[in-house]
Amino acid sequence: METVPKLGNNVPPKKDKLQGKKKKPRRYWEEETTQTAAGASPGPPRKRKRNRELRPQKPKNTHSTKKSRISKKPQVPKKPWERRSPGPQRSLSGAQDPFAGPAPVPVAVVQKFCRIDKSKKLPRSETKIRSRLEAAEAQEEEISVKAARSELLLAEEPGFLEGENGEDTAKICQADIVEAVDIASAAKHFDLNLRQFGPYRLNYSRTGRHLAFGGRRGHVAALDWVTKKLMCEINVMEAVRDIRFLHSEALLAVAQNRWLHIYDNQGIELHCIRRCDRITRLEFLPFHFLLATASETGFLTYLDVSVGKIVAALNARAGRLNIMTQNPYNAVIHLGHSNGTVSLWSPAMKEPLAKILCHRGAVRAVAVDSTGTHMATSGLDHQLKIFDLRGTFQPLSARTLPQGAGHLAFSQRGLLAAGTGDVVNIWAGQGKASPPSLEQPYLTHRLSGHVHGLQFCPFEDVLGVGHSGGITSMLAPGAAEPNFDGLESNPYRSRKQRQEWEVKALLEKVPAELICLDPRALAEVDVISLEQEKKERLERLGYDPGTKPPFQPKPKQKGRSSTASLVKRKRKVMDEEHRDKVRQSLEQQPQKQEKAKPMGARPSALDRFVR
């Protein structure tokens, strides 16, 4: 910005001076202000001038802009300007601050942190409560702006892969990427050749530091995959269906042929849970400490691993369950069925929360992205579909694959990986919250065996693939969230930090009953209608205390309790009630008539002869 005072000296007379009817006392800085408006300086001073021009015609204009400060959410960067006192701030030396006011914040970033839905109307309530709600909203808004400011402090940038002048990124093979990147990243690409123990399932721990895998023929191993340090390697001498880390890397749940077993990081069997038998798939809900298991017998069982109790065992009534995934946004379990539906479950309900018909023919794989807005499904009909999980569960896009995908996985930044036969395809979208576009794959890779398990590593640009030939860790630039939160899941945490985090996490274990489709529902204003309250009370008490019991005449002495007199007394009360009703309806009627009357002209004396 140029220094203003220099230009200020040779200025033609101001416009507003001509316009104003009543001449205002001129301030010493006024000359410069109008000048800046005339010159090519940025927005705010110009806006002020416009306001002043409009004022005689529309005095409301300025008022409304000031009043709707809160509702004008998207214009956050402008806000500091609007709020500023009239006239640019000048220091004693006469120099003007070129960056006056708080730093502007990009709107998109603020939107990310915004927790309130502006489109929802506040419930009708007392003014006192209403003002309190409004104050709370304003505060939330301020907080989101502050959080958006702190975005500046994030250290890492996400990865990317771009082809040069129209080069198809899908044609770039892993070897090229490995050659192009630094040594540390290149070391993240590796193959474990384990043909002997057959197709592998794998799981990364929540920090993305550890990898556990289990082969069909009983081989179970866990390792720190970054340093390639083996934690344990055992053979359970039984088929392994699925494997999953519990809340930390120290505990490992393995779904074996018969029962569910839990091992520690040295391979020592800690528990054998016989109440969960013939498990096909495992999911762990880290904030609820629940291990969800889907079994061949058709049961979805929730096991609380912090106390070792089964919280709920739900019969899905859909035969063998072998497709399961969790929605990381709301901890709802998605089950895929052979009739083409996906059902959504929470432990609090015996029935599914929702059922979505996704495919003609059986569902083969389901995956949900980290924001909980998109679900990808693939079926026997060779279709790959993406559904919107907010509201109506409508398909957003669909694509027919030549073979159909048997395994799907979403990355933290919204990349979708699909395993079809021995090929892995990865699709990318525009950003984190947008669905991946299925037109052109972002990356493809052919493996040495058929895919059996897929997972993106959290906080690393790596996709782990378990297949019949072993384990492949392939590079997928741009897959992971670059900046982790140290208090939530820290890949570099020490043992002490892990222990402390464990205590904290256990203290704030969310009860299983709170799992529902909208996890923010708990913070919303409860507008339980009177009807519903009444209904609940009726259920609880078995009768409605509001309704009057039928009148029962009191027994009287000295022969006055004869049947005839009882009937008479009953009649009397009934009549009284009837009269009340009539009286009430009569009271309402004249109001209507009075309203209707004044429509006509003045009544004349001759009206009485009109028929």
Partner: protein
Amino acid sequence: MKVKMLSRNPDSYVRETKLDLQRVPRNYDPTLHPFEVPREYVRALNATKLERVFAKPFLASLDGHRDGVSCLAKHPKSLATVLSGACDGEVRIWNLTKRKCIRMIQAHEGFVRGICTRFCGTSFFTVGDDKTVKQWKMDGPSYGEEEEPLHTILGKTVYTGIDHHWKEAVFATCGQQVDIWDEQRTSPICSMTWGFDSISSVKFNPIETFLLGSCASDRNIVLYDMRQATPLKKVILDMRTNTICWNPMEAFIFTAANEDYNLYTFDMRALDTPLMIHMDHVSAVLDVDYSPTGKDFVSASFDKSIRIFPVDKSRSREVYHTKRMQHVICVKWTSDSKYIMCGSDEMNIRLWKANASEKLGVLTSREKAATDYNQRLKEKFQHHPHIKRISRHRHLPKSIYSQIQEQRIMKEARRRKELNRIKHSKPGSVQRVSEKKKRVVAVVK
């Protein structure tokens, strides 16, 4: 081909030496912090439970009086000093930090009816059943001197209460009339009456320092302006008021402790309806005192308990009782708003925390941040039924508990009767009177 892989340098995430603090990078992105609301709810629930676990309000009992404690006074300059007068005419001065009596004076014959300190804290005044007003030095007599009052005023009638002006050398006593005295003179500057009754207490307004309020046994509360010779106005309630206390932050507001188990907060500009009726006691309320913040007040009752009320709520937020505490006669909220003192029939002065679960002593900054955070969470989720139930739960002695039940039944019966009366009389002949208006008999100007 342009490619960039996410590659972190571990050195910028791991501490260099063992003596360093661990590095904790933060990212406030909501997708990295799922289940924000349920987790906050669980934290709030835990905080509420811990609050009840740590709610141990009783701090100390100061024993030494040989008869029931009839009045208490705070020292205006020293937080640790408290004065108390007993029913046998003895006045004691206590040091709260040592929890010891530092001085005792046989001030009167019979009851010490009232005690108040001068605003500068150098002397204090007592009135007793022996028809005298005495002024004492706050410091004890030096070696060899006798314990003697600075001044003694012999009156004609018994004085039942005393209060000192907040800024000037003027004090007011009450008995058969309200007398205003200059400290230098032995006869009152002016004495004000309105009818014939015995006045039980008189209080100066701490903000509008010329205003006084008194309450008398013929059920009225009278307001005076010191600059005039006559009273301003009075309000007559259903039953007798024992004491009043002015709000130290809002000049117009005062609270009256009534015999009908309730407390009434009035705006002195509109006396015809009380701002709020505070009900929870199950026996006559004997004393009331405001916290220096003006947001809460504490009341002492004949039902052997003290209760803390927010000014704008009709129900108490806290009730304190012990097995040994008998009828509580007087109560004071200390000037740092942290403690409450109460004097009771069985000769003890008890010291309580004003906030039952507060941790005393110096807090580290992390502790302070944690308590602030928990407080905010509790506020945020206070209306959730599970949390509300836990935070509202108080253990009560059986006598109080059963009386509450009994009074609830009585109240319900009264309400039912009123409804029936309206139902069975000619429509419009019986008017419904609001609960607040019902309690005020008349306002006289």
